[in-house]
Point group: C2
Chain length 356, copies 2
DNA sequence: CTGTTAGCGCATTCAC
DNA sequence: GTGAATGCGCTAACAG
């Protein structure tokens, strides 16, 4: 509420011209040590803050942001991330942001490699990375670091890199949440739990699934409740096979009354159970995709954990713009998204996106 | 990404001067019908959008926003609303926003009345209202309507008023969420449920509690599960009395394994149960207050439903600023906040506020 | 009723 | 190394 100090005022106080203050603020060099010192003292004393508005308008440069993420399908995880990105671009339509996608196939490391390789040639001012393959990502980041191009991670973070900011979820914690939900959903009861992974291995968001599993197991070990967790897998690619797998599993394990699916494919199992009128099993899965939303509505999925993909996209853009324009870096580089628990009864509230 | 049209260009196309366009955009009057029509056609055709940055800097006016809410206590509901408000003011620190609070005692209609009566004298440009007493609020709103002063509701909405925007929760839906949680927390199980209201009646967020109750009962009626819900009350003011009430209740109803408290005072019951080492009862309550957070951490509360009070405050300010400065009113006046389900395992993620 | 114009605070260019 | 000058798109005051 206190009136903001302006560059002009700073200049006056420090006994220099506005131009000099600007040069210091932007590290443009060509300033004498004495001026620098004088200005910096005043800057500190007054707590100067950019006026982002004037700053934005006098900046006529166009910024090119490249978004290197797995192919975004509408209604699925990366599609929702993209929604958030687009929303941010819209919000900042007064700034010339040019935004280009560099999609890659998240199941194909070669696709990722070739996509990532072309990124520097496209001359970006900043890059948003949705990392799947750690090694490829590390290579890209090193090149970006050398070129002095800022980048942000969404969804997950690759170790040993120097992003300006990251928006991701704590997957281990998500695993613990699932653990707690399974427990809450069957108290004082001799029910068993099951966790389903997917048969596809190696790549993909497998890292995320792994962290979730370990969080889940960790939780149960700590609780020492003596509950049993059965692990199983389903084949993603063959629907008939999946169906058989599941029915066989349930037949062999009649006490299983809660099933966790640690990726976004809970709907597959939910649909199979529904088609066989099996209604006394609670399913917990991840991500508010179109299919999972439908299953929540139909009641075939009990709960979905969702990590605000649209917020991740939105904030990644926002932070990069701040970094580019105002040269401000947040103190906190790593941001963890809330893990929302969504059931049929609060689903509708998550349709309106309160990004901003 | 397409270059934005400027006022100057609009003026040229419409064959008038920039000043006239500005007058029309801001409904300042003193414009002929023919000019208005010409400009509005061009406006529509080009899809003109303000450049909020340039707009903000050339604005020299100071806006006074009065915030008429129940006394905000740090860590409690209205305190968190206030946090969001302050955050918005900070975000818009480049605009001269002067923000004054007009607190009132939410349990005392006279306090509300006298507070509301003085509001117009304080000459506000806009008002944020946290409504408790419908009749008093309606009177205030009518005065504001007559004076042409825009206002926004947070937390709840009073019928028959004309707010610019409202940010509230669907309390009925929250009641249904509680119903579902109670059910999920005790499947295939002959446990009974209990709902605790508070003995204090009449005023306060009683309306909210009522809606929640009716949502909850509605849910159970629809489900026809044959589950029993016991209703009970506790006295808020006398801790010893509360304790006796509860222990007696549990003694009389040994099958009750889930208790819903439809206001923010779940921690009171949770603490009582904890102090008697009663651990097999799941408590569901409302609002992420300091005390409820603690109980979640300690495990004495199973789940809390939270309606993003900070977001409500933030957006109320944001929307009013947009209404004041850019004369834009959202198409959607009524916004319902997500009802987040918070358990011990995802609590930590709700500490960082992703307002924006 | 309408056109003109002087800033708003900052980034940037160009003389000095 | 440094200061002065210009313009970003918009608002608001003023002259007609």
């Amino acid at each position: 509420m206190a009136k903001q100090v302006t560059i002009k005022e700073i200049a006056q106080m420090a006994g220099v011209s506005p131009g000099t203050v600007d040069r210091i603020l932007h590290n443009r060099g060509n300033v004498s040590a004495s001026s620098t010192e004088a200005v910096e003292r005043v800057l500190a004393a007054t707590g100067y803050k950019y006026n982002i508005h004037t700053s934005a308008i006098s900046l006529k440069k166009t910024y090119r942001i490249i978004i290197a993420i797995p192919t975004a399908v509408k209604g699925e995880y990366w599609g929702i991330v993209q929604l958030g990105i687009e929303r941010a671009i819209e919000e900042y339509s007064d700034i010339n942001i040019q935004c280009e996608y560099a999609f890659y196939n998240q199941f194909d490391i070669y696709s990722c490699r070739s996509s990532f390789r072309s990124i520097l040639d496209r001359n970006p001012n900043a890059v948003i990375i949705g990392a799947t393959f750690a090694s490829e990502t590390a290579i890209l980041c090193e090149k970006l670091d050398n070129a002095g191009i800022p980048y942000a991670f969404v969804d997950s973070v690759v170790e040993g890199t120097k992003p300006v900011v990251t928006y991701s979820s704590d997957q281990n914690a998500c695993g613990r949440i699932v653990g707690r939900l399974l427990e809450l959903f069957s108290p004082g009861y001799d029910a068993e739990f099951a966790v389903f992974g997917s048969r596809r291995t190696g790549n993909e968001r497998a890292t995320n699934s792994m962290s979730r599993i370990s969080g889940l197991l960790e939780y149960f070990n700590e609780r020492k409740s003596g509950r049993t967790i059965k692990e199983s897998k389903i084949s993603v690619l063959d629907p008939e096979e999946s169906e058989k797998d599941i029915l066989r599993f349930l037949n062999d394990n009649p006490k299983v009354k809660c099933i966790a699916i640690l990726n976004s494919r809970g709907y597959i199992i939910a649909d199979i159970l529904a088609s066989h009128s099996i209604e006394d099993i609670n399913i917990v899965s991840f991500d508010l995709t179109t299919n999972n939303s439908r299953c929540l509505e139909e009641g075939s999925i009990a709960a979905v954990i969702c990590q605000r993909p649209e917020l991740q996209g939105f904030h990644a853009v926002k932070s990069l713009i701040h970094a580019l324009l105002y040269n401000v870096r947040d103190k906190d580089i790593h941001h963890f998204m809330p893990a929302d628990i969504i059931i049929r009864e609060n689903l509708m509230f998550y349709q309106e996106i309160f990004i901003n």
